[in-house]
């Protein structure tokens, strides 16, 4: 336990050191800079704060947003409008700040509701964020004298503090928000953010409320951007529609891309550098300057998708080898409060499917499937390729999939629920392909799986990962408990399968849907999985639905078998009944059958 706490304190020490260095630089800078540069930099510092939030959204969670300028503009206009039309003073300033943040948060929530829902395309979300500033500037333009329309508002009373005080205010704001962001992206929650970026679908099936998290992050970054906008307006004494325009929004994106998305510091330095350079160069070569930025931007996107930061970072590391504060060592602990298997009720079937159908256009993949999964039972689903087995799993675990019929989990209808809602009802689903979250470590993946139960700490990393006993069994049996810090991309196929199963178990389901969990595994590995599945039904009372081709394996572990053929249930019975059935034998072995027609 000793070096674990050391790792944690290292992380906080790095954050604290960075924060203090940043604050020192901010404190000293105004004494070294002339008035002009100080002036320029105060504004740029506010802009850089917004860029930092763009990097959180885009670099960490993968939301390509064109609309961050809208929130900046909302904050700025809150300042301009309050001071122009209502009053000036500390009370009014606070009211304006609160108004800006409040309106920004509400608009962000509404935008998030529009842009993020289960099944929304990233492209669609991006276009919504593009529409936001366009609509907002239109509103500002038509605001007449109230908003100052195209001319904006200016000359309202504000605090004519000494430039140094403004510099310190803006700089401290930037350093503190960045430190918080740095801790956030390196916390447990930060791992969840990366996981959403890498594989949103899979996150949803682990019960992580992806849309809600995205909306929350949108709101949080809107709050910071609004506050920055408020500061910008209060300092510069001007608000204009261009502060909310999508042109500024795309400029934020350009700075983020050039600096290096996902690096936090890269975009900030890019913002500071490019905006300051613009002040110099746009006067002497206004058109060429923009052309140059455009060309460099395209080149960076195509050739250097991670921006310049990794280059600079690499150089820095070569000259000055510092130990980076990596992920802390993590330990697995049994979940003493695990509810896995509790509440299993032999009387009430955990899974009930009635008249389920699924059509793609005119193509019918499932027709009128009715079946029941009982507690402490393992139900095998067999059938030739294309029989609709995987579609059946999909229809159980995502409410928007089926075309007709009813699915009940533990007595509750799934309705049109998104995967994470159905996970909450007690469904766990494993997938055929083993693409996990390639850049995350084994421990990170397990933490993700625990999000639904344990949540994720916002600014800190957990040390212990509490897992139910069977999940620990699998990890131990596959040797994964020794490789917690390895990236999953480097694991063997068998280990990936094991991890997949352990993750599903970590969500503590009562109905487990397994899609060929042993495909591509060696015989000893299959034995392990088979044993665990046996324990899960026997000792924990789980209802397991298993798709499997290997009939030997199915025979070993199943209680009952359902044979799917061309989207319908051909037969249901015990393994022996099914295996001895001439009908099934012929379908499965490829001999002729007229049963379907």
């Amino acid at each position: 336990m000793h070096d674990i706490s050391a790792a944690i304190t290292t992380r906080f020490r790095v954050a604290a050191t960075g924060c203090i260095i940043g604050l020192l630089v901010v404190a000293v800078a105004p004494w070294l800079l002339d008035t002009y540069l100080t002036n320029i930099l105060i504004r740029t510092l506010f802009l850089a704060t917004v860029v930092m939030t763009v990097d959180i959204l885009w670099g960490s969670v993968g939301i390509l947003t064109f609309g961050q300028s809208a929130f900046f503009g909302i904050g700025a206009y809150a300042c301009g409008l309050i001071f122009t039309h209502y009053g000036f003073g500390p009370g009014w300033a606070l009211a304006g700040l609160a108004l800006g943040i409040g309106v920004g948060a509400v608009v962000a929530a509404a935008t998030g509701w529009l842009a993020f829902f289960h099944g929304s395309l990233p492209l669609y979300a991006s276009i919504i964020t593009l529409a936001l500033p366009i609509v907002l500037t239109q509103v500002i333009f038509s605001g007449g004298n109230f908003t100052g329309s195209s001319s904006g508002l200016s000359g309202f009373p504000t605090y004519y503090w000494d430039l140094r005080i403004w510099f310190w205010t803006a700089g401290t704001f930037l350093v503190l928000t960045t430190t918080a962001a740095w801790l956030l992206v390196r916390s447990d929650f930060g791992r969840v953010m990366v996981a959403i970026r890498e594989n949103e679908e899979r996150c949803a099936y682990l019960g992580i409320p992806v849309s809600r998290i995205k909306i929350m992050l949108m709101i949080a970054s809107a709050v910071i951007a609004s506050a920055a906008g408020f500061g910008y307006a209060a300092f510069s004494n001007v608000v204009a529609p261009e502060l909310a325009s999508f042109q500024l929004g795309t400029e934020f994106l350009i700075w983020t891309a050039l600096g290096g998305r996902g690096t936090l510091l890269g975009p900030i330095f890019a913002a500071l550098g490019i905006d300051t350079m613009s002040s110099w160069l746009s006067g002497t070569m206004p058109f060429l300057w923009k052309l140059l930025i455009g060309v460099v931007f395209v080149a960076v996107i195509v050739l250097l998708p991670r921006g310049f930061a990794p280059l600079v970072g690499g150089l820095f590391r070569r000259i000055l080898p510092v130990r980076t504060a990596g992920a802390p060592a993590r330990v697995l602990v049994p979940d003493t409060r695990s509810r896995l298997g509790q509440g299993a009720d032999d009387q009430k079937p955990p899974l009930r499917i009635e008249h389920l159908s699924r059509r793609y256009g005119s193509l019918s993949v499932l027709t009128d499937v009715t079946m029941t999964g009982r507690a402490s039972h393992l139900l095998g689903i067999i059938g030739p390729n294309g029989a609709g087995k995987t579609t059946l799993m999909r229809c159980i675990s995502d409410g928007s999939e089926r075309s007709g019929g009813k699915v009940e989990i533990n007595g509750a209808e799934i309705g049109r629920g998104a995967p994470q809602d159905i996970v909450a009802l007690g469904v766990g689903r494993s997938f055929q392909n083993t693409n996990l979250f390639d850049t995350l470590t084994v421990a990170d993946c397990l933490l993700l799986a625990r999000y639904r139960i344990d949540g994720a700490r916002l600014f800190r990393s957990s040390v212990g990962i509490a897992l139910p006993e069977p999940a620990l069994d699998i990890l131990r049996a596959t040797g994964l408990d020794q490789r917690l810090a390895d990236e999953t991309g480097n694991l063997s196929h068998g280990m990936k399968r094991g991890l997949e199963l352990a993750m599903v178990l970590a969500t503590e389901p009562s109905v487990l849907l397994l899609d060929e969990p042993t495909a591509g595994l060696t015989r000893p590995e299959r034995m392990v999985i088979g044993k665990v599945l046996g324990r899960l039904t026997r000792d924990y009372g789980l209802c397991i639905v298993l798709i499997e081709h290997d009939l030997d394996f199915v025979r070993e572990i199943s209680d009952r078998v359902v044979v799917l053929h061309q989207g319908s249930i051909l037969m249901e019975g015990t393994v022996d009944e099914v295996v001895s059935s001439e009908l099934v034998r012929s379908v499965y072995a490829g001999h002729h059958v007229e049963a379907a027609q």
């Binding site: 993968g62 390509l64 509701w113 529009l114 829902f117 099944g119 929304s120 395309l121 990233p122 492209l123 669609y124 991006s126 276009i127 919504i128 593009l130 529409a131 366009i134 609509v135 239109q138 333009f141 038509s142 795309t250 994106l253 350009i254 891309a257 058109f287 060429l288 923009k290 052309l291 930025i293 455009g294 060309v295 931007f297 395209v298 996107i301 195509v302 998708p305």
Partner: protein, 278 residues
């Protein structure tokens, strides 16, 4: 009333013409071309150059299409192809490309407004009202465009290959279709359509380095709603364009300007597939 109907029809026709190039690129390549606005602008400048050279104003449309096609092929090769598996980056790169094209035009022609000659001027009497002859001509051209594009997709070999790639790229490749080439041609075609549309609308508006930009977002929204078929793009143009005209006429034009964006966003929120499955 006749005027309102004509306004709706011609507005829908213009919107369709302007969005068609975006749609075909989205359909085959699954990427939104943010340089679309810049392509429209290029088309406008082709019309201007065509006029300055003293050629027939009708020639500007094929001229723009030709330039767009060649430019599209080059852009696809250099910028778009490396980004096929990074769709969001492709958005950014094409956006950056739009900036570059805009700045090049500004450097070449200046920021001022240019003029292209009108192929048809004045009004025609239709349903008892005098109506802008060129708008009516655009409507006719848009209808021809729907027919031509549908025929291209339905009847020609290229169209068949493109549809095969849209439906199942893997299977198409297994049948010997070079999907890389199909994509390159599609991007060229999309760029050609965008440039031609720019030349087409030029007589109604003016030529300046930013002329394409205002059309960009409405086009995005229309193709997002329309999915990947030209007939449903026409339906989307009629419904949303009609809503824009009605709101502009009976409420006010500023709200009208936001109608398409807001309505499309709501349609997509409620039914993510838009009109394509309706």
């Amino acid at each position: 009333m006749a005027i309102l109907v004509l306004d709706i029809l011609t507005t829908a026709a213009i919107l369709f013409a302007v969005s068609a190039g975006l749609l075909i690129i989205l359909g085959v390549m699954k990427l939104i071309n943010f340089a679309h606005g810049a392509f429209l602008t290029v088309g406008g400048y082709m019309a201007y150059l065509n006029g300055a050279a003293g050629l027939s104003p009708w020639l500007s449309i094929p001229l723009a299409a030709g330039v767009g096609f060649l430019g599209g092929l080059v852009i696809e090769r250099v910028i778009v192809r490396p980004l096929y598996d990074r769709p969001l980056d492709a958005i950014l790169a094409t956006w950056g490309l739009g900036i570059v094209i805009g700045q090049l035009i500004t450097l070449g022609f200046g920021r001022g407004v240019q003029f292209a000659p009108n192929p048809i001027s004045g009004t025609t009497e239709l349903f008892g009202v005098d109506y802008s002859a060129y708008r009516l001509a655009v409507a006719v051209i848009a209808v021809l465009l729907v027919v031509a594009l549908s025929a291209l997709l339905k009847l020609t070999r290229f169209g068949l290959n493109a549809r095969a790639v849209i439906m199942n790229e893997r299977l198409a490749r297994g049948l010997g279709i070079d999907s890389t080439r199909v994509r390159a041609l599609t991007f060229g075609l999309g760029a050609a359509l965008a440039c031609a549309a720019g030349a087409l609308i030029t007589p109604l508006i003016s030529v300046d380095p930013n002329m394409g930009l205002p059309w960009l977002v409405n086009s995005f929204m229309l193709v997002m709603v329309a999915g990947v078929s030209f007939p449903s793009l026409l339906v989307a143009s009629l419904i949303l364009g009609g809503a824009q005209v009605v709101v502009s006429t009976y409420a006010n034009p500023i709200l009208g300007g936001m109608t398409i964006v807001v309505a499309a966003a709501l349609v997509l929120r409620i039914s993510p597939k838009g009109f394509s499955r309706a």
